[in-house]
Amino acid sequence: MKGIVWLASYPKSGNTWFRTLISNLMSKSQEPVDINQLSTGGIASGRERFDELTGIESADLTFEEIDQLRPEVYAYLAQTVKEPLFVKVHDAYTYLPDGRPLLPVENCKAIYLIRNPLDVVISFSHHLRRDLDTTIELMGNSSYCFCAKPRKMHNQLRQQLLSWSEHVESWVEAPGLDVHVVRYEDLKAQTFETFTQAINFLGLTVGEKEIQKAVDFSDFKVLKKQEEEKGFKEKPSGMPAFFREGKTGGWKERLTEEQVEKIIDQHKRVMERFYYL
C-alpha cells in the first residue's frame, strides 16, 4: 500500500512500542534500531511538516485556523508519499465545523492501539506528573487537549483528545476509515501473532523471519536497556524513564477501589466492548 497509516492511540497505549516494531520491521540492519532514530513518519501534530507544506507559520495562526488546514496537509501527504508513511497520532478522530474530518480517509488506513484504561491511568499519571485522581478526571474530560494553552508556543499543534472512551469510539467508528484495532494486552501476550495480524491488515508483504526479528528487537527489555544507556529524546522532562514497566494489570496494586470504580463508571461501555470487563 501507499499513503498514510495512522498509528492512532490515546497516550500511553503502546504507540511508541508499535513504532519500534514497525521501524525494526523496515530496517535491514541486524541490530535493533536506535529508539532515538525511529524511522516512522513523525507525529500528525508536528509543526514542522505543517509549516513546510502550507508555507505558513503555524505559530502565527489560531488553533481554529490551523485545524482548517490540517486535513489538506495530510491529504497532500497521503497522495504524494511513495511508501506507506506511518504517522503517530494522539488526536481523537474529530470533525471541523464544516463537517470535514480533521484526518482524511482517502489513501489512509489506521491501526488503533487500545490499552486497558485502568493501566493507562497509571502510565499517564507518570507521563503528566499528575496524581492518579487528577489523571482519572482528565481521562474522563471531553474537552481535554494537548498543547492548548493560548499564552505560549507549544512545540506541537493543538490536539483534541476528548475523553478516553470518546477517543476510542471516535477512531473505531470513523466513517469510511479502514481501522484495525490492536489491544496492547494482546500485543504483550502474543506479540508475534498480534503484530502479524496488523501487518496482514496493512497488506505488507514480509516474511515470518523479518517479523520475528522486529519482535525480538522491540522487546521491552531491549528498549529499556537502550533508554538506560542513551536516554530517549521523546521522554518528557521530570519522568525517570519512558520505558517504565510496560506491564499489564499493574493497576491491581496501584489503584484504590474507589479509583477503579470511578474509571469503570466513566468508561464501562467501551471497556466491555474491548473485553476489559
Binding site: 514542522e48 507559520e57 507549544h154 512545540n155 529524546k233 522532562s237
Partner: protein, 301 residues
C-alpha cells in the same frame, strides 16, 4: 498608484501602497514594490503546488485563507489581494514572514530560519525548529544590550562578498505572552501582532543593527531531557545538512529552481561560519542558564 510609503528592510528600498509600521522609513530608489492588486488563484505552470503555496521560476503565490493572497514576482514586486474584511496587521504579518522569505529566495539570498544578533561587529544566528525559543533568546540578549538583526527570517548574502554577511531585517521581535512575562516585559504596553493571538510585537529600534555583519557562528537550539545547557561544535561533515535543514521554507526553492545555488550558498556558509548544537533541558525556558552559557561563547568571538 496611491501615495506610497517608502521603507528599508533586508538591504532593500521598498515602496509600498500600504503602511508597514514594523519597517524603518527611508527614502530612495525602489528595489521592491508592494501593491494591492488582483492575484490569481493559481500559477498556471507551477513547478510545485503545495497546500497553500505554488512556485515557478521567478513566480511565487501564497494563499492565507481569510487574510490575503500574495504574489511575488522576479524578486521585485509583491502583489497583495486582501480577503474581504481582512485586518491590515494580519496582512502584514504573513507579508513580513513567508512572503518576504520568498522574495529573498527570488533575489538569490540565503534565508535561514532564525534570529540574529550582533556582537562586536560580528553576526551570530540562532536557528532551530519552530517553538524552540529563537525569538525569546534574541529578546533576552536584546535586554542585555546586544544588537538585533532579525527575529525569525534571517537573510544571508552568502555569495559575491568575501565572507557571508547577515543582512538586517527590521527592528521588531515577536513574543508570546509567557515569554514576555519571563523577560519581565509588560505586555500591556505592547501591540498584539494579531487580534486573536496572545503574541506581541516588541520594537527594538535603538538596538537595531543597521549595517550587515559578517556571519561568524550559528547556534542550533534544541532541547532534550538532560541536566544543564550544553554546547557542542558540529563536525564539518554535518554542517551542510544542518544548514539545509534550517533553511527557511526550503520548499519554496523547489519550484523556483534555486536548489543548486542554495547548495553553493550553504557550502560558503559552512566554510566561513562555526556551527554549534546547543541543547537545553526540556520543559522550561532555562533562559538564564542559556544566556549565561552563550554569553561566554560570544565574548570569545
Amino acid at each position: 498608484m496611491k501615495d506610497n510609503y517608502c521603507y528599508y528592510a533586508y538591504g532593500l528600498t521598498i515602496k509600498a501602497e500600504l503602511p508597514l509600521p514594523e519597517l524603518e522609513r527611508r527614502e530612495g530608489q525602489e528595489d521592491v514594490l508592494i501593491r494591492y492588486g488582483n492575484v490569481p488563484q493559481s500559477i498556471e505552470d507551477a513547478v510545485v503546488r503545495m497546500v497553500r503555496f505554488e512556485a515557478a521560476p521567478d513566480h511565487f503565490l501564497l494563499k492565507v485563507d481569510g487574510i490575503a493572497r500574495y504574489y511575488v514576482r522576479e524578486g521585485k514586486e509583491i502583489i497583495i489581494e486582501p480577503a474581504c474584511g481582512a485586518r491590515e496587521e494580519d496582512i502584514r504579518l504573513f507579508l513580513l514572514g513567508s512572503v518576504f522569505a520568498a522574495l529573498m529566495h527570488q533575489r538569490q539570498i540565503l534565508v535561514m530560519h532564525g534570529s540574529a544578533i550582533g556582537v562586536n561587529g560580528k553576526g551570530v544566528i540562532f536557528t532551530g525548529v519552530s517553538g524552540v525559543g529563537k525569538s525569546t533568546l534574541a529578546a533576552a540578549l536584546f535586554q542585555k544590550g546586544y544588537h538585533i538583526l532579525t527575529d525569525d527570517v534571517c537573510a544571508v548574502k552568502a555569495l559575491g562578498s568575501e565572507t557571508p554577511q547577515i543582512i538586517p531585517a527590521f527592528p521588531r521581535l515577536k513574543l508570546w505572552a509567557d515569554a514576555a512575562e519571563k523577560l519581565g516585559t509588560d505586555i500591556g504596553s505592547l501591540p498584539r501582532i494579531r487580534e486573536k493571538l496572545d503574541k506581541y510585537g516588541l520594537k527594538v529600534e535603538k538596538s537595531f543593527q543597521q549595517q550587515p555583519l559578517p556571519l561568524k557562528s550559528i547556534y542550533i537550539l534544541s532541547n532534550r531531557d538532560q541536566e544543564g545547557v550544553s554546547i557542542t561544535p558540529l563536525a564539518k561533515l554535518n554542517k551542510l545538512e544542518a544548514l539545509i535543514k534550517n533553511t527557511y521554507r526550503f520548499r519554496f526553492l523547489e519550484g523556483q529552481g534555486g536548489k543548486p545555488l542554495h547548495f553553493q550558498q550553504c557550502v560558503e556558509v559552512a566554510k566561513a561560519a562555526k556551527i554549534y548544537q546547543v541543547v537545553r533541558p526540556k520543559g522550561g525556558f532555562y533562559l538564564d542558564e542559556l544566556v549565561s552559557v552563550l554569553e561566554k561563547e560570544l565574548r570569545e568571538l
